[in-house]
């Protein structure tokens, strides 16, 4: 027959006591160190710092895209500001949306942690690195590119025409007298029409093509 149960046989082992002590110490440490951090994150998530950052970025993107190379032609004609206004609004809208998204993620992380649920652990600030480009900004950028291309093309055509005109003026030919008599007279080309060796004005598409020697013919 066994003896009656003794209370000391039912007390916690040293290992259990140590485990409980460590758990209590860790809990106290967590409350002192991490709780304030989570509270700070909560307060930060209610702020608007991200809005300012992203709106600044949107402003820079728009100005970089549309005003980094100011065009005299636009200034003279007074056009283009409506595209800038639209693009700017589009970019600000994207910045606001991204900032709101980041704020929501931060808040969910704080609440998820506070409620003992999984936290996403991503602020979403990476979005700031590749802030989307609004359709309006793309359109304005493209419009500006087309405008620039047109001006370049006009400049090139005008330059080529001027060079060709000057070359035409440089051409000379020897024109014989009316009945083949008398000394030949030197004839110079005009701006719009060169003269051939015989001193005749080159006119008409076929003659000009032949004179240009572009296909190697004479």
């Amino acid at each position: 027959m066994g003896s009656k149960p003794k209370q000391q046989d039912y007390q916690a082992s040293e290992g259990e006591k140590a485990s409980a002590s460590v758990a209590m110490a860790e809990y106290t440490y967590f409350k002192q160190k991490y709780d304030p951090l989570l509270q700070k994150m909560r307060d930060d998530s209610l702020g608007t710092n991200d809005d300012k950052t992203l709106r600044g970025r949107a402003n820079a993107d728009t100005m970089q895209a549309l005003t980094s190379a100011p065009m005299a032609q636009q200034a003279m004609s007074g056009q283009g500001s409506e595209d800038l206004a639209q693009a700017y609004q589009g970019q600000l809208g994207i910045a606001d949306k991204s900032a709101e998204d980041i704020r929501n993620k931060k808040q969910m992380n704080v609440l998820g942690t506070a409620r003992g649920q999984a936290s996403d652990a991503q602020s979403g600030m990476a979005q700031a690195a590749n802030l989307a480009t609004s359709e309006a900004l793309e359109r304005a950028k493209n419009k500006q590119l087309v405008s620039q291309a047109k001006m370049t093309a006009i400049g090139q055509v005008a330059g080529a025409a001027r060079a060709q005109g000057m070359a035409n003026k440089q051409t000379t030919g020897q024109k014989m007298g009316a009945n083949g008599m008398g000394p030949p007279q030197e004839v110079k080309g005009s701006f719009f029409s060169p003269v051939n060796d015989a001193g005749q004005k080159v006119s008409g598409f076929n003659n000009r093509l032949a004179f240009s020697n572009i296909f190697g013919g004479g």
Partner: protein, 205 residues
């Protein structure tokens, strides 16, 4: 309305001090820098209770604010309207500065056309960005609500699990009590029966 961060921190400290006081009775001081937990069950009960009180004091308002915002927030739409005014001013400023830089003197007709074009572009941009903002706002609010519901569902699941454990423990205790009571009754009856049998035997012989 959410209270300030300062009061939250103070509440956190106060809660911690309160918890330490509550555990003081069953924790006999510190051993080698570690707190001595002589009654882990009661300590655990105190921590569980304190955690909930901390949540209520520090995060309940925050959570309720988010639940309300997820259903009523129109900040993106409001901002898009304000953006229209800002964009108009900036575009006009850029245009004026460029004109000044290149020495452009617009004719009255050109200046009028420029103003009209800017107003037209700004109005179109405003309509577009408000519409975009409406869609974005709805999307963000729905995502926020879905995340909140997800968190709430997780909390609900773990709460029900805790309640299930408590209920199972209660049932187990009741059954153990009933069993013990029945066993005790049976033991009593058995003892009475034995005593009765012994008495009969004693009187018979």
């Amino acid at each position: 309305m959410l209270v300030g961060a300062g009061s939250f921190s103070m509440l956190g400290e106060a809660a911690l001090a309160g918890l330490a006081r509550q555990n003081g009775g069953q924790n006999g001081g510190q051993i080698g820098g570690l707190p001595n937990v002589s009654d882990p069950e009661k300590t655990y009960a105190n921590i569980t209770r304190q955690e909930y009180l901390d949540y209520v004091s520090q995060y309940r308002d925050f959570e309720e604010q988010m639940i309300t915002e997820a259903q009523t927030d129109t900040s993106l739409i409001d901002a898009s309207r304000e953006n229209a005014q800002i964009a108009s001013g900036i575009a006009q400023g850029v245009s004026d500065r460029n004109a000044s830089r290149y020495g452009a003197a617009l004719t009255p007709a050109q200046a009028q056309e420029q103003r009209r074009a800017l107003e037209r572009g700004n109005t179109l941009g405003s309509i577009q960005s408000v519409n975009d903002a409406r869609i974005a706002q709805r999307e963000l609010n729905q995502n926020k609500l879905a995340d909140l519901i997800n968190i709430g569902q997780g909390v609900n699941r773990s709460s029900l699990s805790q309640m299930g454990s408590a209920a199972a423990n209660a049932t187990q205790r009741k059954n153990a009590y009933d069993s013990a009571k029945a066993a005790s009754k049976a033991q009593t009856m058995s003892t009475v029966g034995s005593l009765g049998a012994m008495a009969i035997m004693a009187f018979a012989f």
